[in-house]
């Protein structure tokens, strides 16, 4: 069995982000946390079934160096093959990335394609579903556990309110992961550096198709939330809080 996990980059929010009317300029990028969980789940599946795991990192010419740490991490955890897919231009449109990726993946014969369910730059979160549509594969999101048996994948999906449901999908399929079955494995510094040095990374350039659809009109920083400090003893604070909540029509 052959599995792939997609690893995207998102702006690192620890650093300041410059917002201009027609673009957002992060100081640097980091791996999307949900995608790290998708990679982890792929590694768990490798441990369970002996599947071959390939990790496909996606970047563009502006941030490709930031991908190395995430790919090195995947290698240190046991990924068998790594791709660094560099898009020929930056884009916020997931449709364009999904289409390019669908073409790239079409001859790779993966039984299972794992992605993270969401990303902090919200555009990226849609990737799984759109990719499945372009590849004409079944799709399920919100997944917290993946198993395979007899040509199917059996996944646990979060329904909210603490409820979990089990679904069966025929393989091949695209699955979007909320979190892996276990916390992300820790990789010590030396092991990570060794993996980054030794990693067998195939670099691929992908041309993005132009797809019409949602256009960005402008970017702007959301207004700073208004913060009111309520001071006084417990009774006073409670009274003022109730008043404030009433004013906001919450109570």
């Amino acid at each position: 069995m052959k599995i792939c996990a997609i690893l995207r980059l998102v702006p690192d929010l620890v650093e300041e982000i410059e917002v201009e009317e027609n673009e957002i300029i992060p100081f640097r990028y980091m791996p999307n946390e949900r995608d790290e969980h998708a990679v982890e789940e792929a590694i768990i599946l490798k441990e369970k079934t002996g599947a071959e795991v390939e990790v496909i990192g996606i970047a563009d010419s502006e941030n490709e160096a930031d991908l190395d740490e995430g790919l090195g991490m995947a290698a240190a955890k046991g990924a068998d093959k790594l791709y660094k897919v560099v898009l020929d231009r930056p884009t916020y449109k997931r449709c364009e990335i999904a289409k390019a990726l669908a073409d790239f993946l079409s001859d790779k014969n993966y039984d299972l394609i794992l992605t993270g369910i969401q990303a902090i730059d919200s555009y990226a979160g849609n990737l799984g579903g759109i990719l499945a549509r372009y590849m004409d594969l079944p799709y399920i999101g919100g997944v917290v556990e993946v198993n395979v048996s007899n040509g199917n994948t059996i996944v646990k999906k979060e329904l909210g309110g603490g409820l979990l449901a089990e679904y069966k999908l025929p393989l091949p399929a695209v699955v979007s992961v909320v979190s892996a079955e276990r916390p992300l494995k820790f990789v010590p510094f030396t092991k990570l550096r060794q993996a980054m040095k030794k990693a067998n990374i195939e670099e691929v350039e992908l041309e993005l198709p132009e797809i019409e659809g949602v256009e960005v009109l402008k970017y702007e920083v959301p207004p700073e939330p208004e913060i009111t400090l309520i001071e006084g003893d417990v009774e006073e604070v409670a009274d003022k809080l109730i008043e404030a909540l009433k004013e906001l029509s919450i109570l």
């Binding site: 916390p183 820790f186 010590p188 030396t190 092991k191």
Partner: protein, 394 residues
């Protein structure tokens, strides 16, 4: 890793640490476990860890989590009749195995990952490390501008980013300013010194931090390092020389003691009963006992009282050796955390103020005050804070 591999990796690491040849001399006396603040809460005291390694069941130690129930307080190492480097070698090397297995406690894993990525455990931008200097009413010189200074002041991560510990940094900088000290800071060029990283068994990351820090130190001209961070002091003094760093390192308690005559001229009166907590890496590990006491006792009006467990027998705050990132893990294993027992002890001798000399102590003890209900009765201050207060009271 199978057990064979674990043992091989373990001894490979142990052999790199000074004095670890003493490992074989463990006489199984049990002094270590009897001295350990977590001795009652762990399946594997240092004595039993050594026994387990000898018996080839190191995997059982790792499964128990005992390697994380250590706050690197150094009591066992100091008391061990065979002088086995338990705190610097036996335990960190076990922790390294746990890191290599990929499953350390989550809070600690996040802190180590943050240090790898950002050079601090707080997940803060390295470009905001010097923000505290904008919060003071005097100028804090940057070495990149000044180029040359007698003292390079290392704030370390807690002193630079932690809401409470930053106040200690500001107080000590203010004292240097008042004393007219020729000092400067690295500002955003500073990164984690890494003593806790080393004690957590992340040896690779520690080496990387040491090498990078030394490269920055070499850019500038200064004759000594001064720091209020007890672990930074320890690492710079004892570990960095292995990587080629050879300058004098001064703890802020020593600095204040050396400037005591000048300080005395500035002191006003304080009406407190004060006790002093010997932080592990100021006292037990590095033998600084008298200097802080002399400085506190020199403040007019202060009534100085000792707690029962003092100097080499002082109880740890629980923050060292990564303890500060293991709070929830430790809470699951013991009933009363050492910091809680310690603030109760300070209150029992009638102290109004518990003075410490390690940045980690202050948040650890202030948290313990809340848990024990002693908030309002006892205050926790760093030695530089009480001195500044005495000066401002004049």
């Amino acid at each position: 890793m199978d057990v064979e591999e674990m043992l091989e990796t373990y001894f490979e690491r142990i052999n790199e640490i000074p004095n670890s040849d003493k490992f074989i001399q463990c006489i199984q006396c049990g002094t270590c476990g009897g001295s350990c603040p977590y001795g009652m809460g762990t399946l594997f005291t240092p004595r039993r860890m050594i026994l387990a390694v000898r018996a080839g069941i190191v995997d059982e130690v790792l499964q128990s989590g005992a390697q994380w129930l250590c706050t690197s307080c150094f009591t066992c190492s100091l008391r061990c009749p065979s002088q086995i480097p338990i705190t610097d070698a036996v335990i960190p090397a076990l922790r390294e195995l746990s890191l290599l297995e990929g499953n350390p406690p989550e809070e600690l894993a996040a802190a180590l990952m943050n240090i790898t990525r950002y050079g601090n455990s707080f997940r803060e931008s390295p470009r905001k490390r010097d923000r505290w200097i904008k919060e003071v009413d005097f100028e804090v010189p940057l070495i990149s501008k000044k180029k040359k200074a007698e003292y390079l002041f290392i704030t370390e991560c807690f002193g630079a980013y932690h809401r409470r510990c930053k106040e200690i940094t500001k107080a000590f900088a203010k004292l240097m300013d008042l004393l007219g000290t020729d000092y400067a800071i690295l500002g955003n060029e500073e990164r984690c010194i890494g003593d806790l990283v080393r004690l957590c068994g992340e040896f690779g990351l520690f080496e990387d931090l040491a090498e990078k820090n030394i490269r920055v130190f070499e850019k500038y001209e200064f004759s000594k390092i001064v720091t209020h961070d007890a672990h930074a002091y320890n690492a710079l003094l004892r570990e960095y020389p292995r990587f080629g760093f050879k300058k004098e390192v001064v703890h802020h308690t020593q600095f204040l003691y050396n400037n005591l005559e000048k300080l005395k001229e500035m002191f006003g009166k304080l009406d407190y009963t004060v006790t002093y907590h010997d932080s592990c890496y100021v006292g037990r590990r590095n033998g600084i006992y008298e200097e802080p006491r002399a400085v506190i006792k020199a403040i007019p009006g202060v009534k100085f009282v000792e707690m029962k467990r003092i100097k080499e027998n002082a109880l740890c705050c629980g923050g060292g050796g990564g303890g500060v990132w293991l709070d929830s893990f430790i809470k699951d294993h013991i009933k009363e955390r050492p910091a809680e027992s310690r603030v109760k002890e300070a209150a029992s001798v009638g102290a109004d103020v518990l003075v410490t000399a390690c940045t980690l102590d202050v948040p650890m003890f202030e948290d313990a005050l809340k848990v024990t209900g002693l908030e309002g009765q006892l205050e926790v201050k760093d030695i530089s804070e009480i001195i500044l207060e005495a000066i401002e009271n004049s």
